[in-house]
């Protein structure tokens, strides 16, 4: 049988920040994810929003959609909050904190999509919101079953007694992250309807990708 060289998928821990038994940590793997989230958050902070151009059919004219004022501030704030929540999710050393950060990413994504006042886009945001609300059920349920079965939520303690987490809990958390991470499909809808999105919509794709990468690491470690 093939055996992994180390017990944890991400390699040796580089940095550890203990708060009681909740120990946040960086491995080379999660450190890379954190840097990725940080870079895209900085892009959201410093870049100017895209001006989308719509062609008026039958003529040579084009409309330029401008994002200014309140709208811009709200979308930028939501994108930054989404980036910070993603950073929290990738560094968290506690299963329940991870699920909370994932659902916070979901709320921020709703905010990013819903800031466009367009009926179709709002529709997409509403439908995603329903999915994300339903997805918190398997997320919290999986964390609760883990706690009931092993008596701890700390990833460190779980990995020390691995394989400790029941398979059903793993499956539930995976389903929950899939539900929250389905956002790019709905964000694509916002882009399809020519709503001015860039660069803030990028944060949606980045955060759901990073959540998937992190949940795979957790599932393989515990």
């Amino acid at each position: 049988m093939f055996e992994l060289p180390t017990s944890s998928i991400g390699g040796e821990e580089l940095f550890v920040l203990p708060f009681g038994d909740i120990v946040n940590y960086f491995t080379p793997y999660t450190g890379a994810l954190f840097l990725f989230a940080l870079i895209f958050t900085l892009i959201c902070i410093f870049s100017k929003p895209e001006k989308q151009l719509d062609v008026a059919f039958g003529t040579d004219a084009i409309y330029a959609k401008d994002v200014t004022g309140k709208d811009l501030h709200f979308r930028r704030f939501m994108a930054i909050a989404c980036g910070v929540a993603t950073m929290g999710a990738v560094t968290s050393g506690d299963v329940f904190n991870f699920t909370l950060f994932v659902s916070m990413v979901g709320i921020c994504i709703i905010g990013i999509v819903a800031s466009v006042k367009n009926k179709h886009v709002l529709n997409a945001a509403f439908n995603y919101g329903i999915i994300s609300m339903l997805a918190t059920v398997p997320l919290f349920g999986g964390a609760a079953i883990t706690l009931a079965a092993t008596g701890t939520l700390s990833i460190w303690e779980l990995s020390a007694i691995a394989p400790a987490m029941p398979g059903i809990a793993k499956a539930l958390i995976l389903v929950g992250v899939m539900g929250e991470g389905i956002a790019p499909f709905y964000a694509a809808k916002a882009e399809l309807f020519r709503a001015p999105g860039a660069p803030y919509v990028i944060m949606i794709h980045v955060s759901s990708l990073l959540m998937f990468l992190r949940v795979v690491e957790i599932m393989l470690t515990v």
């Binding site: 909370l100 006042k117 994300s132 609300m133 349920g141 609760a144 079953i145 009931a148």
Partner: protein
């Protein structure tokens, strides 16, 4: 013979399955929203089944996440359906112009006597009544400012607990007074929800 946790878990899972089936069969958007909230409540039930102090601590963030998602989605629904403005004028009753001040003063004074969270709730009820009777937007900025300072005082009290524990009595009084003002301000917010602009 199964233990209580397994039985409870099975019951909760059945409830979750029923809500999920309902959520996928339902077509009306506002009904789907309510069903999604029901599903969140059943997730809280799964957490509560653990029945330890830790579970109690986990329920609160779960509840906050659920409520914030529910509020965001209902706001999206209102904007999408153009329901942001009230459809009819708020009703007026003559006695509501004169009575609120007296009753509000009685309740607020009694709330201050009680102090702490309970006192905040009683005083808040008085404020709710006052704001419901009077015009909603009245002096609301002042209440917000008081609420902000109260929160800061509450945090200061916590720092006193941690840094200089020998002054605990002062910190208790500070936190009690601050939480009184905070809860009062939060509850008086309800009294202003009469559909005025920017409220």
């Amino acid at each position: 013979m199964m233990d209580e946790y397994a039985i409870g878990l099975i019951v909760a899972l059945i409830a979750i399955i029923i809500t999920f089936v309902a959520a996928f069969r339902e077509k009306n958007d506002i009904h789907r929203l309510i069903i999604a909230d029901l599903a969140e409540v059943s997730a809280l039930a799964v957490i509560a089944l653990i029945a330890t102090d830790l579970a109690e601590a986990l329920i609160i963030p779960g509840l906050v996440v659920g409520i914030s998602e529910l509020m965001a989605l209902s706001e999206i629904y209102l904007v999408r359906e153009h329901l942001t403005h009230p459809v009819k004028n708020p009703f007026r009753i003559e006695v509501l112009d004169t009575a609120p001040a007296i009753i509000a003063v009685i309740l607020v004074v009694y709330g201050i006597v009680l102090c702490g969270f309970t006192g905040g709730a009683v005083a808040g009820t008085g404020m709710v009544f006052y704001f419901m009777g009077k015009r909603p937007a009245e002096r609301f900025a002042l209440v917000e400012t008081v609420s902000g300072y109260a929160w800061a005082l509450w945090i200061v009290a916590f720092f006193i607990f941690m840094v200089v524990p020998e002054y605990w009595f002062f910190a208790v009084m500070l936190a009690g007074g601050a939480i009184l003002a905070k809860v009062t301000a939060k509850m008086s917010l309800i009294g202003t929800m009469r559909g005025e602009k920017d409220v």
